[in-house]
C-alpha cells in the first residue's frame, strides 16, 4: 500500500513535470528580428492603436507618453498592477532587446522566461506582424526613462503561481484570425480590432477560466468590475452607421451626442489619434460581423 502511494506520487510529479515542460514559456527566435529595421514614426501609430498608454501611464495622468505603470486592475483573480515600461534600463524595459520585447508581446513571455498574465492583452497582440513589433520598439525607446519601481501584483492562490499560466496559454492563446476579411480595408480593420486594438478583450464574454468565447465574438460581456455590461458591437447589437462608429472612435460622441464613459473613454483617447481611414476600416470590420 505504502509502495503504491509512493509510485502514485512519483507518477503525479512526473505528470506535472511533463505538463510544465510542454507548456513552458515560448520565445521568438532572435534571428527573426535581426534583419528588420524599426521606424519610430510608424511605431507611434502602432502605439496609439495598441492603447499601451491606457494601462501603463500613471493613475489619473494625462500624459500618454510617460509610462511608469502603477495602475491597478481589479479582477476576479486578484489585483494586477501595470509595470513600468518606460525606457529606464533598471525599472523599465530600456535594456531589453527587440527579441525580448517581441517575446513579451507575441508569446506573453518575460526576458527571464516566465509567463505573463493575460491581464497584459498579449492574447490579442500575438497577432501583430514582426515589422510592427520592431517599429513599436523603436518608438518606445524614444519615450522618457522614469525611475519608478514596478510593484507586485496582489493575487490569490493558485493564480499567483505563474507556471499555471502555461496551461491557460495552451488552452486560450492563439494567433489565428477570428473572422475572415475579404478586402484590403477589412483586413486592415481586422488587424486593428483583433490584434492592436484588443477590442475583444472587453467586448467579448469569457468562460469561467477567463478565456475569450470565440462563439460570442464581440457580442458584449458583463463588466469585469461587477456592475453593468460592456455593449456588443455586432450589427444586431449596434445599429450605428459606419460613419457614426468612426466619429465615436474619433471624438467619443455617440449618435445622440452623449459622450463615451467607462474604459472606452481611454480607448477613444488613443484610437482617436489614428487616421480617418483607419477608424473607418475598424467601423467596416464591425459592420461586417455577424
Amino acid at each position: 500500500m505504502k509502495r503504491a502511494m509512493t509510485w502514485l506520487s512519483v507518477f503525479t510529479m512526473l505528470g506535472i513535470a511533463v505538463a510544465l515542460w510542454l507548456t513552458r514559456p515560448a520565445v521568438v527566435n532572435p534571428t527573426r528580428f535581426a534583419s528588420l529595421h524599426g521606424n519610430a514614426t510608424r511605431g507611434e501609430v502602432v502605439f496609439w492603436a495598441g492603447g499601451c498608454a491606457s494601462c501603463h501611464k500613471a493613475e489619473s495622468s494625462d500624459d500618454d507618453l510617460a509610462l511608469p505603470g502603477g495602475r491597478r486592475f481589479v479582477t476576479q483573480f486578484g489585483n494586477f498592477i501595470a509595470p513600468n515600461i518606460s525606457s529606464d534600463p533598471t525599472h523599465g524595459i530600456g535594456d531589453w532587446t527587440v527579441a525580448e520585447f517581441a517575446s513579451a508581446l507575441l508569446h506573453g513571455t518575460s526576458p527571464e522566461g516566465r509567463h505573463y498574465y493575460p491581464a497584459f492583452p498579449y492574447t490579442s497582440y500575438a497577432r501583430m506582424n514582426d515589422q510592427d513589433v520592431t517599429d513599436l520598439w523603436a518608438f518606445m525607446q524614444t519615450l522618457p526613462a522614469l525611475p519608478v519601481a514596478s510593484r507586485r501584483h496582489d493575487l490569490t492562490f493558485p493564480f499567483n503561481v505563474r507556471a499555471t499560466l502555461g496551461v491557460w496559454k495552451f488552452l486560450f492563446l492563439n494567433s489565428d484570425w477570428v473572422r475572415p476579411a475579404e478586402t484590403p480595408e477589412l483586413e486592415r480593420g481586422r488587424y486593428l480590432v483583433e490584434a492592436l486594438g484588443h477590442c475583444a478583450e472587453c467586448h467579448t464574454p469569457r468562460n469561467l477560466l477567463g478565456g475569450s468565447l470565440a462563439s460570442a465574438w464581440m457580442k458584449g460581456a458583463p463588466h469585469p468590475a461587477g456592475k453593468g455590461r460592456i455593449p456588443g458591437l455586432v450589427p444586431s447589437a449596434l445599429d450605428w452607421s459606419a460613419e457614426d462608429i468612426a466619429y465615436y472612435l474619433e471624438t467619443g460622441f455617440t449618435p445622440d451626442f452623449d459622450s463615451a464613459g467607462g474604459e472606452m473613454a481611454e480607448v477613444v483617447a488613443t484610437i482617436g489619434r489614428l487616421s480617418p481611414e483607419d477608424r473607418l476600416a475598424i467601423a467596416h470590420y464591425l459592420k461586417a460581423l455577424e
Binding site: E243, T251, G252, F253, F257, G261, G262, A265, E266
Partner: protein
C-alpha cells in the same frame, strides 16, 4: 456691444433657462439631479448641430457653427455648484442619478475637468467659424473633456 457684455448676457439667459428646467423637472425626482441632466442634454443638443456639420450630414455654415459653439462655451461656463449639491449621488438618490459619490470626495478632479471643458470649448468656439476642418479638429478636445468626466464620475 462688446464681447464680454454679450457673453455675460448669454450666460445669465442660460442660467435662467437652467433654473427653469430645474423647476420644471422638480415635480418628480430630485431637482438638482434633474437640472444637471438637463444641462448635459443641452451640451448634447448643441454638439449634435456641430457634429452633423463635422460629419458632413448637413452643409457647413460658419455662422451657425460659431454661434452653436458659443452656446456650448456659455453652458460650460455656467456656475453649477447648486446642481452638484452634496447628498445627491447614487448613494442617496439610487436610480435617479448616475452621479458617483467620488465627485464629492477629497482629491476629486471633478472641478478641474470642468475647467478642462471650458478650455476645450473656447478652442472650439474659435475654430468653429474658421473652417470645417478646424472645427472638426477642435471637437475631439471637447469630447475628451466630456469623456474624462464620465469615465471617472458617472456610473456606467
Amino acid at each position: 456691444m462688446n464681447f464680454s457684455k454679450h457673453f455675460a448676457l448669454m450666460v445669465s439667459a442660460l442660467t435662467l433657462a437652467g433654473a427653469m428646467l430645474a423647476h420644471a423637472g422638480g415635480h418628480d425626482g430630485n431637482p438638482a439631479a434633474n437640472a444637471r441632466q438637463a444641462h448635459m442634454k443641452l451640451y448634447a443638443f448643441n454638439l449634435d448641430v456641430i457634429g452633423a456639420m463635422a460629419k458632413g450630414e448637413v452643409d457647413y455654415n460658419a455662422e451657425i457653427a460659431r454661434s452653436t459653439a458659443n452656446n456650448l462655451l456659455a453652458l460650460a461656463m455656467m456656475h453649477q455648484d447648486a446642481y452638484w449639491a452634496p447628498g445627491t449621488s447614487t448613494v442617496e438618490l439610487g436610480n435617479e442619478t448616475r452621479a458617483l459619490p467620488s465627485i464629492w470626495e477629497d482629491g476629486s478632479r471633478f472641478g478641474d475637468i470642468g475647467v478642462q471643458l471650458i478650455e476645450a470649448a473656447s478652442q472650439l468656439a474659435e475654430a468653429a467659424g474658421e473652417s470645417q476642418d478646424a472645427m472638426r479638429g477642435a471637437i475631439r478636445g471637447v469630447g475628451g473633456a466630456c469623456s474624462a468626466c464620465h469615465r471617472n464620475y458617472r456610473q456606467r
